[in-house]
């Protein structure tokens, strides 16, 4: 049910060649968990194994880094943690973000990424919405532990350093408009390198509801006794 509702975000914790995520306590069954893993090393930070129930939606190994997007639907007996295995043990920054209302049958519509070379502008690609309620996520990886300013008109959901010189920012946009969102640019104070990505997620259909059409005027309305 739109709009997509942000529930919680937790930081991923790296241990050598594994990244562990803690399931937020506020999630409910059928919520969507998105794991975002980013690193400066596009070879060693690729995901080689993930627990049952997870799927890889996108992986962008580029010159200046890599961003990987994994997805899972929360189940009744949701594990408390999830551990993802990488090729090796590069410095990684990662986060687990939970949303409610995403379409489970069509997890991600599209995603692309751009390598950023020594720039203060991290330009996340434009996405084209075909349904007004789709969720735009901007993902920014900077290979330095510096603050990132999210684009105006967006809502920042995560912005933190990882192990080693690295930082990950996640921001969301609910445009409520069909068509292109335009690029969304995060900025840093001094030129840095990294990766800027964006992904578009489908949201559950807007429900058609029923109304009350009076057959004769004068129904009993809200009452104080009973329902």
């Amino acid at each position: 049910m739109p709009p997509a509702a942000f529930i919680a975000v937790t930081a991923g914790v790296q241990a050598i060649d594994r990244v562990a995520f803690t399931t937020p306590s506020a999630v409910k069954t059928r919520d969507t968990l998105l794991a975002i893993i980013a690193s400066i090393d596009p070879d060693e930070a690729q995901v080689v194994d993930m627990p049952e129930g997870w799927e890889q939606l996108a992986e962008f190994p580029l010159l200046n880094g890599i961003i990987t997007i994994l997805r899972r639907e929360v189940v009744d007996e949701e594990p408390p943690t999830h551990e993802v295995a990488l090729v090796a043990d590069p410095f990684v920054v990662a986060a687990l973000i939970a949303y409610r209302g995403l379409d489970a049958n069509s997890p991600m519509l599209e995603a692309t990424a751009t390598a950023i070379n020594a720039s203060t502008n991290f330009v996340c690609p434009s996405r084209t919405l075909t349904t007004y309620s789709e969720l735009y996520l901007g993902l920014v990886f900077v290979s330095a532990s510096v603050a990132i300013t999210h684009p105006a008109g967006t809502t920042e959901r995560y912005d933190a350093n990882g192990a080693g010189p690295s930082r990950l920012q996640i921001f969301e946009l609910l445009p409520e408009l069909v068509g292109a969102t335009g690029t969304k640019t995060s900025t840093v104070a001094a030129p840095q390198s990294g990766v800027a990505a964006s992904a578009l997620f489908k949201v559950q259909a807007t429900p058609l509801v029923q109304s009350l059409v009076p057959d004769v005027p004068g129904a009993i309305g809200f009452v104080e006794v009973g329902v």
Binding site: I7, T206, L212, P214, D215, V216, G218, A219, G221, F222
Partner: protein
């Protein structure tokens, strides 16, 4: 818990426009116009309503008693209205249904507001959303729920707010009985004052004039459940119309009665028919929602009263229901599957995620988890350390051999019984044991100061195994059990009460003697023992452990102690069990209810609890029960 009540109920059933609307709940004085004219009275779903279309209408009123319409925590707002989306968008996208607090001062900060927003007119998509202001007057417009608005008719809109903490607020939105939004907000700082104004149709933090016909508006100070919303919707949409039809169908099709809805006869049929429908709806509600898994409101409170469950202010309905249901989920009793079935929902776990911990009467200690304070009472603490995975005792000064000053070094654990038939094994690895120094195992009756020592002693250069007993501080003499040739690399000491004395069981007093043996091995923990002849000493003791003492100076004791086994057959450990919930697991457990359910399940004269740690201090209440030492 705060009493559930309706704060505001505007029926808008005035027969004439100029009659000021009144609040059926009595919280407000009569409403007045905010813009110079009262919204016109028009026919609506429940009879009459107020038409906010056409001009910038609003209604407002102060509390009849200051604060009577105020809630800064839980609330539910329901409204029946017919909305003109096109007119709304033409004026402004977002209309205010109601707001309590119209901004401008702390007293007028909005404590709750409900807004309708046009998202996409062509697709007839709208958003229903909460809004409020913080205690500093900052607008907090909340995420809402989207829905497609039907072409005509009245909408039943319900918005519930459940305040959990200053950073967690749960919001749910319904249209009819359809849940359209389930949102978690971090805006738990909610303002508003007792002298604030309630306004209908205009003035919320994110909205302006509402273009709609409002039939009824109600504000309650609690959050309603989905069952209650569904029941109300069914009454309005199904049962009342069916009741009217049922009464009408009593007449023959060609009966000479007016079919004009405005006729008196039809109105009489409506009264009777809707009364029938209302009754049927209440019966249906009872049928569906009487049992505690779906009960709400007074029904749930009755269940809690019957079952002895007292809800706390912040308990949500789901948690209260689970507590009640747990009283019935005891089909398999205190078996492991039965315990899991009863408490798993209360602990917010799958059955397989619950660890059931139970114990025999043997305590094993390898010090791999350090010297845990909840198990060992080590004094002086600085002299007992962990080194290379074992306990290490070193002396800092003389520790007189006599008991007069009672300042031996000791590391003791509770035997959890009176000591009958108990036995203890410990491994000693001496590094330094200078002349006059002694280290070993001890059984200690602290109340009577009756002590049995069994240790390795350096007696003027000769290493001996000795026992010494004290009764009421008075030594009963030292007995040499064995003499070593040189300092042994390691020795296992085994002190054991072989029989309680006096021919068997029964309560042993401090003056009752029992028979003991002292055994030792330099081979291993399980083989190569040599056992002394039985000797007598007081039967009762409550503490067991290790000791160190010396007649000589400092730095003449350095002994490692490891692989402790203490068996106390008459201890209460086997009567303890615990349902352990790993705190790392997600979810919001109800430990209070889980503990209560376990108390109902467990056998008499046993101890059990729901826990989230496997290590706790003796004397610390586990939701009302006291544990005995570490569980591993």
């Amino acid at each position: 818990m705060a009493a559930r009540k309706t704060l505001v109920h505007l029926r808008f059933d005035e027969p004439h426009t100029d009659v000021p609307p009144s609040d059926a709940a009595g919280s407000l004085v009569d409403l007045t116009d905010g813009t110079g004219a009262l919204p016109p009275v028009v026919e609506a779903f429940t009879g009459f309503g107020r038409d906010f279309l056409g001009e910038e209408y609003s209604l407002e009123a102060k509390d009849a008693v200051a604060g009577s319409s105020l809630t800064t925590r839980d609330c539910t707002i329901d409204v029946l209205l017919a909305w003109d989306m096109a007119a709304q968008l033409d004026f402004a996208a977002t209309g205010t249904i109601v707001t309590r607090g119209i901004d401008g001062s702390a007293a007028e900060y909005s404590a709750y507001a409900l807004e309708l927003r046009v998202v996409d007119l062509a697709q007839r998509i709208a958003e229903l959303r909460f809004a409020w202001q913080t205690t500093a007057g900052v607008d907090k417009v909340q995420a809402g729920g989207h829905f497609i608005v039907p072409a005509d008719g009245f909408l039943m809109l319900t918005a519930t707010r459940r305040w959990i903490s200053s950073t967690e607020v749960e919001l749910q939105y319904y249209v009819g009985d359809r849940l359209i939004g389930d949102v978690l907000s971090s805006d738990g700082d909610i303002g508003g004052g007792t002298t604030g104004t309630l306004r209908v149709g205009h003035g919320s933090p994110g909205g302006t004039y509402l273009l709609a016909v409002i039939d009824e508006l109600r504000v309650r100070n609690y959050h309603v459940t989905q069952e209650e919303v569904e029941a109300t919707w069914k009454r309005l949409s199904k049962f009342q119309p069916r009741g009217y039809k049922a009464v009408r169908d009593l007449f023959q099709p060609d009966a000479p009665i007016s079919n004009d809805p405005a006729s008196r006869f039809q109105k009489l049929l409506r009264i009777a028919g809707h009364a029938v429908g209302y009754t049927a709806a209440q019966a249906e509600n009872v049928k569906l929602n009487l049992l505690p898994d779906r009960a709400y409101g007074p029904s749930l409170e009755q269940w809690e009263s019957i079952l002895g469950e007292a809800p706390r202010d912040l308990d949500g309905t789901a948690r209260r229901r689970r507590r009640c249901v747990a009283h019935f989920s005891q089909r398999e009793g205190v078996s492991p599957p039965g315990v899991r079935s009863t408490v798993h929902e209360l602990l917010a776990l799958a059955k397989t995620q619950i660890q059931l911990l139970a114990f025999d009467n043997t305590v094993r200690e390898d010090f791999s988890q350090g010297l845990r304070g909840e198990r060992w009472r080590a004094t002086p603490a600085a002299q007992w350390t962990i080194n290379a995975g074992a306990l290490r005792v070193q002396n800092a000064a003389d520790i007189p051999l006599t008991s007069a000053k009672a300042d031996w070094y000791t590391a003791l654990t509770a035997a959890d019984c009176d000591g009958r038939a108990s036995q203890m094994i410990a491994k000693l690895v001496p590094t330094t044991l200078a002349a006059g120094a002694e280290v070993g195992v001890v059984f200690f009756d602290w109340a009577q100061w009756s002590v049995l020592l069994f240790g390795l002693k350096n007696d003027a250069g000769t290493y001996k195994l000795v026992t010494e007993a004290f009764v009421a501080h008075a030594s009963q003499g030292v007995t040499v059990r064995h003499t070593f040739v040189g300092l042994p690399a390691a020795v296992w000491l085994h002190l054991r009460q072989i029989d309680p004395g006096g021919g068997g069981g029964g309560f042993k007093t401090s003056a009752t003697d029992a028979n003991y043996t002292a055994a030792w091995s330099t081979t291993s923990q399980t083989t190569g023992y040599t056992t002394s002849a039985p000797f007598s000493h007081r039967a009762r003791f409550q503490w067991a452990g290790m000791y160190a003492r010396t007649t000589a100076g400092a730095a003449n004791i350095d002994v490692a102690i490891d692989d402790i086994v203490l068996r106390t057959p008459f201890a209460g450990r086997t009567s303890h069990w615990y349902a352990y919930r790993d705190p790392a697991l997600p979810g919001s457990p109800d430990l209070v209810a889980a503990w209560g359910a376990i108390q109902r399940l467990k056998h008499a004269f046993t101890r059990a609890s729901a826990i989230t740690t496997k290590s706790f201090l003796a004397g610390v209440s586990l939701v009302g029960r006291t544990p005995h030492g570490a569980l591993t």
